[in-house]
Amino acid sequence: MKVDLRSNKDFLAGLLLIGIGVLGFYMALDYPFGSTLRMGPGYFPRVLAGILIAFGIFTLVRGIVTAEKVKGVWGWKPLTLITASLVAFGWIMDRFGFIPALVAMFFLATLGGHEFKWKEFVILTVVMSLSAIGIFIYGLGMPYQLIQGF
């Protein structure tokens, strides 16, 4: 069975490992290597990056030989929206306060689910935001403004 390299599980894993290894090695070239007696800050990272590249090459070659496909489908939509909801929470929290951050977070996160229903989104956001305010602001005393400027 022929498997496209773009969906070849171990080939991709190998590429990723080699990528991380090469990046790690390249960046560590700026740190003094030292010697085995006196390890510099570049010693450990370079050794690790080298090992990682070796594992990566092994995995990549094995991928070409065994040609196994990645199981299931890639969930790009939930991945994008879930991570966006975290980023949005952090970004908005700093600028507009706790409540706007929660609303944006719930909006993006529920959008990442299978079905989006306005009614459910509103109820969930209100109920969970109120419990969050109760637990974190009043219960644990975290010093956040509910809405910036108010």
């Binding site: 171990d10 991709l12 894993a13 990723l16 490992l17 991380i20 960046m27 560590a28 740190y31 003094p32 010697s35 085995t36 007696l37 006196r38 390890m39 510099g40 800050p41 450990f44 990272p45 690790l48 090992i51 990682l52 594992f55 990566g56 092994f58 995995t59 094995r62 990645v70 199981k71 299931g72 489908v73 890639w74 969930g75 939930p78 991945l79 879930i82 991570t83 909801s85 975290l86 980023v87 929470f89 952090g90 929290m93 929660l102 977070m105 719930f106 996160a109 529920t110 990442g112 689910g113 299978h114 079905e115 459910e120 969930l124 969970m128 969050a132 974190f136 644990l140 005393g141 975290m142």
Partner: protein
């Protein structure tokens, strides 16, 4: 009798009103979440970890430990009633537990699971009491070469014995070690892998990695495919097992406890492989192996005892050596570090109230579980009616607030998002994230001990092979590697993980 003094100290700490309350909260939350399919103990602890930041160290650890074994326990309920394992370690409980439930014997199955878990939990706690102090005492004599070799062995064992491909797991350890480097080098003051971002010069937060790798990627994976609605109505009548049930279960519980206690204390192995191995052992030595899979009570009793024993003894290396054997234990160790306590053998002597209080609380917590689980089983089952589409945004909320609150910095949340993407891609490519977090936790320690060992030996790497204890750890690492390369053993390991089907 030092043991008794220690236990008295422990119980006096654990029985304080505040600590009892946190133990109860932990066990309660843990059971509730363990019952929910798709949300395991790992995700729960990862998400709730930043919140315990605000508690004192003792209640924080008591609560986290409660969540851990509560979730371990709660998983058995859904396995038996609905054939839905809450986590890997309860997969085998499904096989015979669910068959028993279909035959109207859900009550005895649940009761035996509870009794077996409690008995195993007691033995596990006792083992920590007996073996903790001597191991810690021995470890206090370790120098840098011994520590380095021990950590190397732990990481090799974790990568080789954990679920999944060995080479990729070893590579994950290395990725974890590299992530651990991010930040300012203690010796030279140089910022490494910081990409010019000032927040990264303090290193990547532990909870950031844990939540990203385990919670975010798990949620995305669950959202890949359409949600399944589980409809069920089960009446649980007779809880009491018959005399024959008890007799049939006694030895499986004893054997399960022994197997679980052994695997729990080893790095890299834990509840999952313990319950699978116990099931295989019981099936092999049974006079009626054909009964397994059709509702044999031995197939519930043994594995349930095993996974709970392992959950307890996993604390031995974590608390006495400061070396976690599993991802969950790495999280517990992270909790210690967050509380400003350097993990290692000195914890027992410097913080005896914390150490013994935690252990006493585990016994109390196990007792609470028996009391909670059986009468409240109907209530736990109601939790399963919560649809996942309400659940996952709430988990994200806790993750977001928790991680933001540690440094009050949005950068931590951007990093959680990044770790989530990395974790998801690794999961799809079948690279296990568990060895990665172990590497991440041990990375800085490993570099420091390597540096020190080589300084002592004047740059001669043979120091790892000339000191006897260090040599023993090195030999053990090599032996584990060789054994796992041999096809026969590799097949056995895969069998052990796949006995329960394709989860």
């Amino acid at each position: 009798m030092e043991i008794f003094n220690n236990l008295i100290l422990g119980f006096s700490v654990a029985l304080s009103l505040q600590n009892l309350l946190y133990c109860f909260i932990g066990v309660f939350v843990g059971t509730a979440i363990g019952v929910l399919p798709g949300v395991g103990p790992l995700v729960t602890i990862a998400v709730l970890l930043p919140i315990t930041f605000n508690l004192a160290p003792i209640p924080a650890l008591i609560m986290l430990a409660g969540i851990y074994y509560g979730a371990q326990y709660g998983g058995s309920t859904t396995s038996i009633l609905m054939n839905l394992p809450g986590e890997t370690s309860s997969v085998v409980t499904c096989i015979d537990g669910y068959q028993m439930a279909r035959q109207g014997r859900a009550g005895p199955a649940l009761a035996i699971a509870a009794v077996g878990s409690f008995a195993a939990g007691c033995v596990g706690t006792l083992l920590i009491v007996l073996f903790g102090p001597p191991i810690a005492e021995m470890a206090l004599k370790f120098g840098a070469p011994e520590y380095f070799s021990l950590m190397l062995m732990a990481l090799v064992a974790a990568a080789c014995l954990a679920h999944g491909d060995m080479v990729k797991s070893l590579a994950m350890v290395v990725v974890g070690l590299m992530l651990g480097i991010v930040g300012t080098d203690v010796n030279s003051g140089m910022a490494r892998y910081s990409f010019g971002i000032s927040e990264l010069t303090d290193g990547i937060g532990f909870t950031v990695v844990a939540v990203g790798l385990f919670a975010v990627s798990e949620i995305v994976k669950n959202l890949e495919t359409a949600e399944q609605q589980h409809v069920f109505t089960k009446n649980i009548k007779d809880i009491m097992p018959t005399r024959k049930d008890l007799k049939d279960s006694t030895w499986p519980i004893v054997r399960g406890t022994a197997i679980g206690a052994f695997f729990g204390a080893l790095p890299g192995t834990g509840p999952a492989i313990s319950s699978f191995s116990t099931y295989m052992v019981e099936k092999k030595i049974s006079k009626h192996p054909e009964k397994f899979g059709t509702g044999a009570i031995e197939g519930v009793a043994g594995p349930e005892a095993a996974n709970n024993a392992a959950a307890q003894t996993a604390f031995i290396p974590t608390l006495t050596l400061g070396i976690p054997g599993s991802a969950t234990m790495a999280l517990m160790l992270g909790a210690l570090t967050i509380q400003g306590i350097a993990p290692g053998p000195q914890v027992m002597t410097q913080k005896p109230d914390l150490f013994w209080g935690l252990i006493a609380s585990m016994w109390i917590g196990n007792l609470m579980l028996v009391v909670l689980n059986l009468p409240l089983v109907g209530m736990w089952v109601q939790l399963l009616k919560i649809p996942y589409r309400w659940l996952f945004p709430s988990i994200i909320m806790f993750s977001a607030i928790g991680n933001y609150s540690i440094n009050n910095s949005p950068m931590d949340l951007y990093l959680v998002a990044g770790m989530g993407i990395l974790g998801y891609v690794l999961m799809k490519l079948e690279c296990e994230p568990a060895p990665l977090i172990l590497g991440f936790v041990l990375g800085p320690l490993m570099e420091e001990n390597l540096r020190r060992a080589l300084l002592i030996s004047r740059g001669d790497p043979s120091v790892f092979f000339t000191r006897p204890i260090s040599l023993a750890f090195m030999i053990a690492s090599v032996v584990i590697l060789i054994i796992m390369i041999m096809p026969a053993f590799r097949k056995k390991k895969e069998e052990a993980y796949e006995e329960g089907g394709d989860y």
